[in-house]
Symmetry: C2
Amino acid sequence: MAPDGSGGAGPVVAVDIGGTSIKAGVFGADGRLGPVDRTATPPAGTDGAPVIEAVEGIVRRLSGGAPPAAVGVVVPGIIDDAAGVAVHAENLGWHDVALRDLLATRLGCPVAVGHDVRAGGLAEHRAGALRGAVNGAFLPVGTGIAAALVLDGRVFAADGYAGEIGHVDVGHSLECACGGRGCLEAIASAAAVARRYAVATGTPVAGSRDVAELVRRGDPAAVAVWDDALDALAYGLSLLTGVVAPTVVAIGGGLGESPDLVLRPLAGRLAARLTFQRPPRIVAAELGDRAGCVGAGLLARELVT
Amino acid sequence: MAPDGSGGAGPVVAVDIGGTSIKAGVFGADGRLGPVDRTATPPAGTDGAPVIEAVEGIVRRLSGGAPPAAVGVVVPGIIDDAAGVAVHAENLGWHDVALRDLLATRLGCPVAVGHDVRAGGLAEHRAGALRGAVNGAFLPVGTGIAAALVLDGRVFAADGYAGEIGHVDVGHSLECACGGRGCLEAIASAAAVARRYAVATGTPVAGSRDVAELVRRGDPAAVAVWDDALDALAYGLSLLTGVVAPTVVAIGGGLGESPDLVLRPLAGRLAARLTFQRPPRIVAAELGDRAGCVGAGLLARELVT
């Protein structure tokens, strides 16, 4: 990093670290993300160091030799965006890792650290399905479920604890990986839908998309599992509606890939749960699995004046 | 009102219109509310006009002849603070009443219109139990239940629809006045506690304070009713914690008058419902039933430069 804290002559690089893969790309001055590079996330090891080394290597490769102008990194878990600290990222083996300072030292440029879902919400708000919304929510329904809340025009973080709608009790008896019971995520995530279908039928499936295809063919077990997921999601949306009253909710993640089986049924079930509350529009997210990376780029771009 | 939109030489007057009584007082330049004047709320009539006339009379009396410098009025229901419109105030017979403009014309001074609970939250944030909180909630548990959310240091309104935690489904089978079923308010409001005790025992009580006294004496029916209310409130708080993660929740209203039977039990039951989430401190609200009026004064004061 230059003595004034500014970065190098290279590009802005955006990185989205997931439990399965690390997605990264160059984020242009025009606000567009270049081709997305995908690398398998290395095993976390005891201290998460292999993941940090992998990120360093990917950024150096993408910036083509020149030190990057800035880097944005987004991560799942409890992330304190303001402090740049990964408070708790189970899949990556990180607990209280000062990610921003650590990467800034290694890479010699300013680094922004954010939460993958909130960054995705920022991206959907600036350039996707939440464009123009004063109050909205981005709800990726994938391996897990969390919401990015846009409140009064800004993404709301609460020190990293906001939007944990995946772990509210929606009244079923299934255990959740978090240690709780009844969590929305345990019955309605894309992973839960695939898992519950496999458990119900003894037939493993690759993911929720396979279950969706079986629903379209009228497979009763698939219909039952899908139905439970939609009921639970409608419950979760009724809670979001009651507490923060978004005008629009953008569904993403694995379940968002089957909008025909999600958007209208969800809107109907939500409406049945509301009385005087204002129902949000339920729409498909627009940026797909690039949302987190675009958000990382937006966060990094703010560091470059 | 003077041609430049400024008010008269009189005081700032604060008014809190409730379903039972209208509380009002002079709000000093030092941010203190004078003695609170209480008037029974007149029957709404067909168009809510008697309530507006009563407010006009009270303000004229309190401002002692001189036109007031500004007036703040807070109201229950769905209130669009920004537009100054009572979208829906059931108890007062108001639907889409342009309260701010109507009163400004009658009183000849600038008028601020707000929501009673959000105004109370503003008051608790500026001068009460939420002082210094970046993210907090004011939860009056009275005739009904609604939360005022302080998010990133500001009271969050969502066009009047925020904080309706009283009407989220907490999983019981009782009907609610809103037309829903399972609402928090139907089992845990101070009114519900008194009503459920009377139904269970056939013995009417004046209010939740009487039930609290019976709980202290070990009356089994009172203990059961109180227990249900605390469980439901803990559920409601777990939802607030998951979605907006306040660091402190200030309990007010009728149930807040029995802090010994509410604060610690509620904190314990909430903790049992959380896993990785950050538990808020549960404290007693500090401004009692003056909170709404103080908030009305703060809103009016902002109009006087």
